[in-house]
Symmetry: D2
Amino acid sequence: METVAVLLLTCPDQKGLVAKISQFIYSNEGNILDLNEHVDPEEEIFSIRVAWEMKHFNIPFSDLPGTFSSLATSIGANWEIYSTGQKMRTAIFVSKYDHCLQEILWRYSIGEFPIEIPLIISNHETLQPLADRYGIPYHIFPITGDNKSTQEQKELALLEQQNIDNIILARYMQILSPMFVQKYPNKIINIHHSFLPAFRGANPYKQAYIRGVKIIGATSHYVTEELDEGPIIAQDIARISHKDSLEDLKQKGRDLERLVLARAINHHSNRRVLVRGRKTIVFE
Amino acid sequence: METVAVLLLTCPDQKGLVAKISQFIYSNEGNILDLNEHVDPEEEIFSIRVAWEMKHFNIPFSDLPGTFSSLATSIGANWEIYSTGQKMRTAIFVSKYDHCLQEILWRYSIGEFPIEIPLIISNHETLQPLADRYGIPYHIFPITGDNKSTQEQKELALLEQQNIDNIILARYMQILSPMFVQKYPNKIINIHHSFLPAFRGANPYKQAYIRGVKIIGATSHYVTEELDEGPIIAQDIARISHKDSLEDLKQKGRDLERLVLARAINHHSNRRVLVRGRKTIVFE
Amino acid sequence: METVAVLLLTCPDQKGLVAKISQFIYSNEGNILDLNEHVDPEEEIFSIRVAWEMKHFNIPFSDLPGTFSSLATSIGANWEIYSTGQKMRTAIFVSKYDHCLQEILWRYSIGEFPIEIPLIISNHETLQPLADRYGIPYHIFPITGDNKSTQEQKELALLEQQNIDNIILARYMQILSPMFVQKYPNKIINIHHSFLPAFRGANPYKQAYIRGVKIIGATSHYVTEELDEGPIIAQDIARISHKDSLEDLKQKGRDLERLVLARAINHHSNRRVLVRGRKTIVFE
Amino acid sequence: METVAVLLLTCPDQKGLVAKISQFIYSNEGNILDLNEHVDPEEEIFSIRVAWEMKHFNIPFSDLPGTFSSLATSIGANWEIYSTGQKMRTAIFVSKYDHCLQEILWRYSIGEFPIEIPLIISNHETLQPLADRYGIPYHIFPITGDNKSTQEQKELALLEQQNIDNIILARYMQILSPMFVQKYPNKIINIHHSFLPAFRGANPYKQAYIRGVKIIGATSHYVTEELDEGPIIAQDIARISHKDSLEDLKQKGRDLERLVLARAINHHSNRRVLVRGRKTIVFE
């Protein structure tokens, strides 16, 4: 796989944006592999994702942000440039459920995600054997009523020491503190086992069972300080009927959770997600 | 089409229920066409839908409820028996949107629903031409801030005079009063343009647009006194993305609304729905 | 709605394509509303759809093809430019089934498709009343064993006289001759009532019923000389079970056919479809 | 979990079938947990699945077939009775792909299937480590051009010795000989990576890619002597677009294959599938 540069950019809409950006790439001998743009006609905001080959590109990746910044400034843009040569360093947080971790580690092992997983953090020892099987260090930080803040500090220290950029909550059953969340804005991906905004909070399958819905869902979103209110990355659903017990809902839900979380990780790690306010643009 | 009897019954679970009910039918020379039962293992409640041919059946339909009642009493059942020979007399309530009315009248015209539609009620004159095209009387009861109660009384009088058993709210934009709703318990079907319980109340597409969900839905349910909280009959969803404007959501939603409402009318009019508390059993 | 130009273009992949095309638009004061491109990495073919506002654009639409052609030639492109100011003149062909025609005419009447429907052609008189209701001229060309060629000549003369660019076969039950098809390459849209390539040819629901599939489908595609083998524009499916009779399959299928055909018309009439060999690129 | 008896029965339709069967259960103090029947109105064939508690049932399971047979004979039935106390002894056949085996073993390990897996058979050593992880004996029978018949004999001997009733082909890349297939009629479950009957045989993803379909599928079916023509148990689909490479199809297909195969195993092992000719009745 050759190295590819990915630009994610958003700015006020104006004439010539695609021309300017593509000209920047072309004039430096870049070959565009994928370009995806969106204009929000209401808010008049332009957003773009462009990927181009770094091979034969005149500017080394290390100089790219510096070189691009004058154009970016002239159009009033928020932007980030990534190289596929730099894998996203990602930590997974889990508690006791294994299905999401299984799924992620299996896909990771066959190379589906362009990420590195240097460590797994858990508040329980339950999933240590699964982590061992894939040879990934597993760190246990038990959370009790009053040690949360201290433990989070330790976790943050570990994450920093390991240069972790992104976090996946793979059915991690603790609520992260605002302090923690603020360190990783739009970098923490959660899977919630309902079709948000329906059934926020605890026991969504039980809520769904009691309400008698005919469809259940799962939602993967970025974690913000407000519980289950962060920008949604991916959602999917499964049909249920009166025949399904609460246990059946959980079982069908497990399959949803695994797939929706995997899809979100895919989008996020391939730099296909741009967050604007409470919403995401997913350049598929 | 030959006449068929349909029994919908629910009672505390106990041994021998299927044997007793099927023996009742068999001993009277009935041939079962379709039998569908469900045991709620938690609440220990038995529910059944049985359909059998009335041809060669020993008991005329008019005597059937009387004859069946002693068995029903002995097992402590709530039950109803219907004949497909008696079409459900159904009124449709509309406001200005035509898509749901279009859909229902077209399906009605090709015989998809075992119902009769003797009248349409609206608070606007907008859809009169559509009603005319299908030759169905269209009654206008404009609703203003302070005449709702009077108008509802007139509507009820008309419904009673026309022997209406069931009501379909095909995007009727008025909230029926509790007094009205209580006259037709589990007999009024509504289509709500969201995936309930998400986005209750007004402007669900706008709510969905603002929240940035990746899937929209529609829900058909029985109307109860609590807004958008009645037992759900059918739900479906459509995928959306950041490219969809609010207008696109409404357009995609129209297709959902039409199909979900049609499905609910199908289930209801074929006597496939049994309401238990806040939930439905749909014997598909 | 303001006038928008839409360019559909395909050419061998090479550096600078987006830059050149967007620069052409920008230098003439065009504002890009939507840009969607695709590079086929295997065949090294670049494809693009760009839409920009004609308001304030320096070149009148009538001169646009002429002005653009030198750039197009220099990159070896196949291309077409459309103006949303020119509605696609479209004829609908039907036989006896009304569901697809109903659907198209209703969506047409509420402005969902940027097309004009100056006429409907049928080999039966059955749907004349439906055409009348929407005020669209309905021409009957009965087809017998030996008059097909003559009738097609008359149809073609009528289509030419009416300046028809595109044809929708809305469950038209005759096979068009190769001579006819060649006059409208990638301009005739058909709806086939199966999940192609499964169940080509006659009676696909019966074939599906006999095979015992658990899912049925519908496929909308461009008509080519080879029956049911043209480039696919849209497909969708519905779940079925052993409970569904052949009649149920047809009923569920009708809903699929309507929606899939409508989706294909939407894509095609908004100039979102680019045909490459046996496949389509649908720029959604 | 208490022991439950499951009767699967099919016979010519006639009056009193449900009455007779349910009376048999009731008169022996059985409590019906689940009853599901179907009448094919065209062929006039009755099919039923009944499950009842063995606790308090008058007849021990070992005597049940003998006791039931006189009723069964009197109605001309084909039938089988199973006890949930006897887990289905199941062998898995694999080649090199791990995704289906991963999925089955994980679900098996959390108790989702009422089966026992005493052994895995493969023509390659590739998946030995995965089998080891779950502690399941892994037997390698390499297949070359001319040893197939001999190797199949050895496999059959091993299966017989291990009392294997059912076989799952989890992307096993060899075609079983008719002789082998005949030993396990309607007992061998395969997963084919297409939406059958489309794309039978080799390389279905490539076939789908070349044809330009907009949806791919997976099909789980019983193996018969005719390749990819056996009775279908479960199917599902995923949407694709022109953006998806052949590699993407395979990746999306993997997720489908896993879920569809798991669903088929669920239906089959819970004795919910009744085969009639080329079709299945799945009593969900």
